[in-house]
């Protein structure tokens, strides 16, 4: 997180530290736009190839385990709630509750990744990975489907990991009272990031698991 807002960083004379939460929030939203566009490029590819290889995509998507996908969706949605609750808690100065909610969120993120790990290793053990034996037998549409599947869920997984790092830093900040009930913009920004991770998954889930 680099969203610090010491505008007058050189405080040698005026002596006051300028904190601008509004600016910090605006920067975070701009950053989220860039993330959306990053995934936007992928969604564009998905749309174009879905149109071109409708049949191959249907066959490939039928292979996916939508139960694990659904469980992961529930996990992420719950974690979004807990992050929001932790912000509410810190605003009411309930430090312990805020910390507990963040730990719960981290746990959810970890659960999501564990599920993802099992999913990926299942596919890989079946020989479905770029250049894998099973994939080479498949049609072009299926190859592209799995290519996009690995890239998009992989990129999303990376974002989950980054989000967890942010939240871990926030836990440290709350413990050190850097984040308090009057200064919680950093936590709110981390929360916004976590919601983004959630929102992207909400689109990935139907596109890869349900549309077949």
């Amino acid at each position: 997180m680099t969203e610090y807002t010491e505008t007058a960083e050189h405080v040698h004379e005026s002596g006051h530290m300028h904190r601008d939460d509004e600016a910090s929030k605006m920067a975070m939203w701009l950053f989220l736009f860039t993330e959306l566009l990053l995934f936007g490029g992928m969604f564009l590819l998905y749309g174009a190839y879905r149109f071109q290889y409708a049949d191959g995509f249907k066959v490939a998507a039928a292979d996916m385990n939508s139960f694990i996908g659904a469980v992961n969706t529930i996990i992420l949605l719950t974690s979004s709630l807990s992050v929001a609750l932790s912000i509410g808690a810190i605003q009411r100065n309930q430090k312990k509750l805020a910390l507990a909610m963040l730990w719960f969120t981290l746990l959810c993120g970890l659960g999501f990744l564990v599920n993802k790990y099992f999913e990926w290793s299942h596919e890989i053990s079946n020989g479905i990975y770029p250049g894998g034996p099973a994939l080479q037998e498949m049609s072009n549409g299926q190859v592209i489907y799995f290519g996009l599947y690995y890239v998009m869920t992989g990129l999303h997984g990376l974002h989950v990991i980054v989000g967890m790092v942010f939240l871990a830093v926030m836990i440290a900040f709350i413990q050190k009272d850097i984040i308090t009930n009057s200064n919680y913009q950093k936590l709110e920004n981390a929360g916004l990031y976590w919601h983004l991770v959630d929102v992207i998954w909400i689109f990935l889930f139907p596109l890869f698991y349900l549309l077949h």
């Binding site: 680099t2 960083e9 605006m26 590819l45 592209i144």
Partner: protein
Amino acid sequence: MANEILAREPNYLEYQGKHKGIAGWLLTLDHKRIGLMYLMAIMVFFFVAMTLGVLMRLEMLTPGETIMKPQTYNSVFTLHGVIMVFLFIIPAIPAVFGNFFLPIQLGAKDVAFPRLNLFSWYLYILGAILAVASLFSGSGAADTGWTFYVPYSIRSAQNVTMTTMAAFVLGFSSIVTGLNFVVTIHRLRAPGMTWFRMPLFAWGLYATSWIQVLATPVIGITLALIMLERFLGIGVFDPALGGDPILYQHLFWIYSHPAVYIMILPAMGVVSEILPTFARKDIFGYKQIAISSLGIAFIGYLVWGHHMFVSGMSDASRIVFSLLTFLVAIPTGVKIFNWVATLYKASIKFSAPFYYVLAFIFIFSIGGLTGLVLGALATDIHVTDTYFVVAHFHYVMFGGMGIMFFATMHYWFPKMFGKMYSEKIAIIACTQIIIGFNMLYFPMFIMGYMGMPRRYYDYLPQFQGWHILSTVGSWILVTGIVFMFGNLLYALLKGPKAPDNPWGGTTLEWRIKGLPTLENFEEIPVVTGGPYVHDRPTYIMHPSKEIQHTNGDAKKAEKEGVSH
């Protein structure tokens, strides 16, 4: 009294903070020092890429092999493109002069996020190192052209991965700078500085920054996919696995066309600064110029398809993209007409920066009009992938952004370094640059029209006369550029002290006495009028001392502006 206080406070070059010497620069959070660090890095890469360009021209002096093999030529034009586009043209004006002057022009102490600002400089350096390292590592520099078109970029045995990685990192640096500027412009305008009292340079940067934030991520993911494609073979762009190379071209140009406006909008912003200063009157059509920057940025998003007219798009989409391309000419025309109208009946002062701006208007107009030839479907098919295209984009990019970079250097040099250069030599160098430039690139229009393809190291003997003319032009141009920088360098070392406001500029940076100090202003100024008003002061530099003497205007202005 104010003078005495200012005399005691060290300027930004002398200031000794927590870190001394070189660390005082490498760890600085001062937007002005970061701007100068960008300037130094950017100049190095400009000269590297310029040298590569000269070598290419030298190779084209005679048909067949002159000084290099075809494979080397491929790598040279790729690196010339990558370095010029990603390391010079895109960051030059925003990262150097935007960093230095945006906060000052807004009446702020710094950008909104100083640490992020320094971070983006390090990203820039990291990307630059990767780009240069790709030259000497692996199996040699990329040979795909700066567009990295698939499937060749996937198959090429050269070190394409590292070059795309460099472009990826540089894109991230560009996003961070854009984000910082958007927030700075929203949050840090001085009291009384309403949106329509902002200098037009700030408006240009504002439009640019939005493009940087909203377009760059698309190239990020596209280049990341190239890397993944090379490592893993995921198939999304590989026709052998069912991927569609045309989709790559779409994604590439969704960023890279708006990027053209990242390059030119800040330059246009500086034109709007320099003209009213030397015309010594208010700019004509302030609001139209400001809004047209946003208009160009917006329409610029919707025209990427014109790079792909011969790639096999449907007729319907080609017609739509062609029409939209013509629409960009409208806001651009608005700017040109307003600039010319500013000069009408003005008492013009012919100084060096103004001379460069005139060169810009002349050269850029040729570039812009030949752009319409390329935007029209029928003529584009005739000249696609010929020297005509090469000539066109050098007229708009080098003739537009490059010449304006020189103009900007000459305009703000006295405020950045406190020294004055020889205007006479600057004008002679400018004349030489104009002659060399046109001699270098204009024959390319003719050759392209006659069918000389771009990116070939060899050619038919019938083109040799034009190639010789063009190569000689490159020598004139380069000596002109060296002459110009030599003049500035000499001024930096031995030039006389510059007056506070040598040109009679009206924006905030010219109200500062001497070089800017660390926090730019002793007190945040209050703005009471537009940026280019020549006949009365529109800034109150020391509101706490002066405000009781004014007629209440300032207080009103303070309420209108953003409060902190």
